[in-house]
Symmetry: D2
């Protein structure tokens, strides 16, 4: 599955399972040679990995376990399908979309028992940069928002169980579209966990909701969005402001945010 504006074969695979959660997550490298570069980097840091020769409509991948307890893959080759628009003289969007009609996957938020260690791994070994960080009173990172695209984040890590999946987010890029998405969710009696609202961290407008399996999904939007420059310094949030950092309007965490994930 994928959003209508994604150009490769898919961004999400759903598989049958006994319980909800995320089996693994995968990142695509910019260039083919980057895959070799990161293979060497895994070796240099002593990270055990497995080479997966191919997967559904996808080429070789490096598979390894991150210190957060998540199976991570790096790959470069994936079947190029184009988006739903013609490649020549396209309209700005395809008519006839159903439902919320998201254009693309945006990011994933996962949990780790020792976020500090996991964050360091993604920063040092995989060279993610940090857009925002939540720190304890002694300055230790409790959670971090990490990026490769110059977007607020591709991956975020917060405290929780090893291998935990907090949510995956899809782009909904205007406030009208956000309300329309909330309307559609509510028309279909989908359980909304939070929102419409805004995160202090990333400035992202948001709706958290649960799919029928119990996985949390998010619409993530761009009202007053920013772009990261590799030289941009991370924004810091202090633990005493965690409530507004997470839910800027409610100014308090809801009971599900830190306890319910898969």
């Amino acid at each position: 599955m994928k959003g209508w504006d994604e150009r490769h074969a898919y961004s999400v695979c759903l598989t049958e399972a006994d319980r909800a959660g995320m089996v693994r997550m995968a990142f695509r490298t910019v260039d083919p040679e980057d895959l070799d570069y990161y293979e060497k980097r895994l070796q240099d840091f002593g990270v055990k990995y497995e080479v997966v020769p191919e997967d559904y409509r996808r080429g070789r991948a490096l598979r390894f376990m991150a210190p957060s307890g998540h199976t991570v893959e790096l790959y470069h080759e994936m079947e190029y399908t184009g988006n739903l628009l013609p490649a020549v003289n396209p309209a700005p969007w395809p008519e006839g979309l159903k439902g919320i009609g998201v254009p693309r996957l945006d990011h994933t938020l996962v949990t780790a028992p020792e976020p500090h260690t996991a964050i360091q791994f993604f920063q040092e070994v995989l060279e993610f940069r940090t857009s925002e960080v939540l720190v304890s009173s002694d300055g230790t990172p409790l959670a971090a928002w990490l990026w490769q695209r110059p977007a607020p984040h591709d991956l975020a890590i917060v405290p929780g169980r090893a291998g935990g999946f907090h949510h995956a987010a899809f782009v909904v890029d205007s406030t009208d579209a956000l309300f329309r998405a909330a309307d559609i969710l509510a028309m279909h009696k989908v359980r909304i966990d939070y929102g419409p609202g805004r995160h202090g961290i990333t400035r992202g407008t948001t709706i958290y909701f649960f799919d029928p399996s119990g996985n949390r999904l998010e619409t993530f939007g761009g009202y007053s969005a920013y772009q990261m420059d590799p030289d941009s310094r991370p924004v810091t949030w202090t633990q005493d402001q965690i409530a507004q950092a997470v839910f800027y309007y409610a100014q308090e965490l809801n009971e599900t945010f830190l306890s319910v994930y898969t």
Copy 2:
């Protein structure tokens, strides 16, 4: 006080008091002779009223107690000031507004111990029409949204203490403006009670929040808004759907909605 686009002297008066709440509410008649018309109507229905010869920047008013326990006034004359724009060749809005910058007051929601009786009074004596009504399983109106302007409502009545003031709402007429309003409230650490969200009833987009005195205020918006025609039949909501009728997205009432008002 008033919104920037209101053309008469004021729509809200704040007075010093020992406790929060609404002292009285007043409705302006369309034409001067309507005031005489309603005076006769009050007499015909045996409603005791007092004539207030004048008030701050305002002419004669009829003052009476509604069965909901609220002091209500009818008046016609009020000093005409115009809005904040010039009367000749105006721009679409005035530059330099501060804060949320609402254009006008929209409606008020009040509580009544016997909503049915209060609703009937406003319908029969004051000729309000009903846009939407919440009914119990035996069809009794539990709450009603009433109008004179062809807007979703000018006044709503829900169950609660006699004379209770649930909220007054000000127009914020786009989803971007709604998020901007929520941002400003949150920047200033205002306690947000609910929202951004949407009501099932009236379709209105909303933020409920509290002013420093404890009165609840609302931003009320027009995404997918409707206009009432005098011949439009009321929309009905059944009691088993009350949660979504009130908070369309949350699909559940928050604990404050029915318990906290002034």
Copy 3:
């Protein structure tokens, strides 16, 4: 035909004809007795009229010629169908709309050889109120925006041929919806005459475009919209500012505005 949120049987009838244009326009009275009231008023002002006993899904109408050369009807009874939503516990909008999906007709703009006389007729005989007026250097009204609903206008009259039809406008009530409408028009190669833009007069956001017959249609929106109060004084525009009064952004009239209508 009608918009999805209109509650009576129809607001627009298309009939086969040799040329484009508007055959007649009709206004619905608020109450049944208003029809008698206006019949007497037509008599008092010596306006010749015809009684049309019934029309398609509609009751008795008074038909007469306005000084602008337009056939006008007043009626009250029309079949009540409700909008596209259920009458009980409705969603805020119906899923599955196609195209621009306008909720309702908003207003019509027509031409008159002597606008001053036509404007006076609608004001005095039919009791329309004026929201905005464009005046010549000697103060004569050249064009007026007239209302019965407390909206910016139900009918506008500008200089031109007797019986001329400039455009009919349908509500598109957010800026996202306006861009979406423009996208859809452009995807289908519809000839856009002007817009997206804004009128200085009425503050309305707008797209003018032509239907296949050559009639001009408009999307009319509410960003920073206002409501008229019967006591609101008209906004005045001076003839030297006509360009910005009409096309607030372009600040100049396009060649078609005053010359192309049906």
Copy 4:
């Protein structure tokens, strides 16, 4: 000068001159060592360049003439100032902004007598990738939209005079913000060249307008925006669709687009 959300010292310098136009444009490299990499690349391709040891709040730059006749600089070091928000627990935007309040510079469009050659230079020597391209009937690129950030474009090249400056664009990222920008421009009688509208190419929503010196500026927005992936293939526009490619709604070029630039 810079937008409120830019984190380095400036993105635009205005200097006194006898005529309007762009003196030079500069690109910042992601990493310090990239500057050495591109220096070697300039040498390999035989491009003459000058080393500018430092400039206002900026470090070493490589300065050279592109085949389009534009002076181009590459640099890495620039004073880091942060944006207008605090680095710890920031609000989503700063209160008190005046005017349109753009967050950042987005892109520049320039002219070249032989666009094909200039496009090739930026692609081969400076490794820009192509998001969209306009081709003649024989397939020759007439204009191209080129990027380094995964945005629709950082630089576009269209046919015209050597060294010509068509416009610089600043982000305005919602349709409400776009209308607000157009309102502010019109309130201040700024000459609007085109818009609000949309480009077929890049899907960008747009207003073209002229600053007092005669340079064209643009608001560039994100309604239905896309992100480029390095592996995304360019969108192609054919010359017979140039009008809609440029002005998606008007479906025709205005007389100024290809003739007026500085």
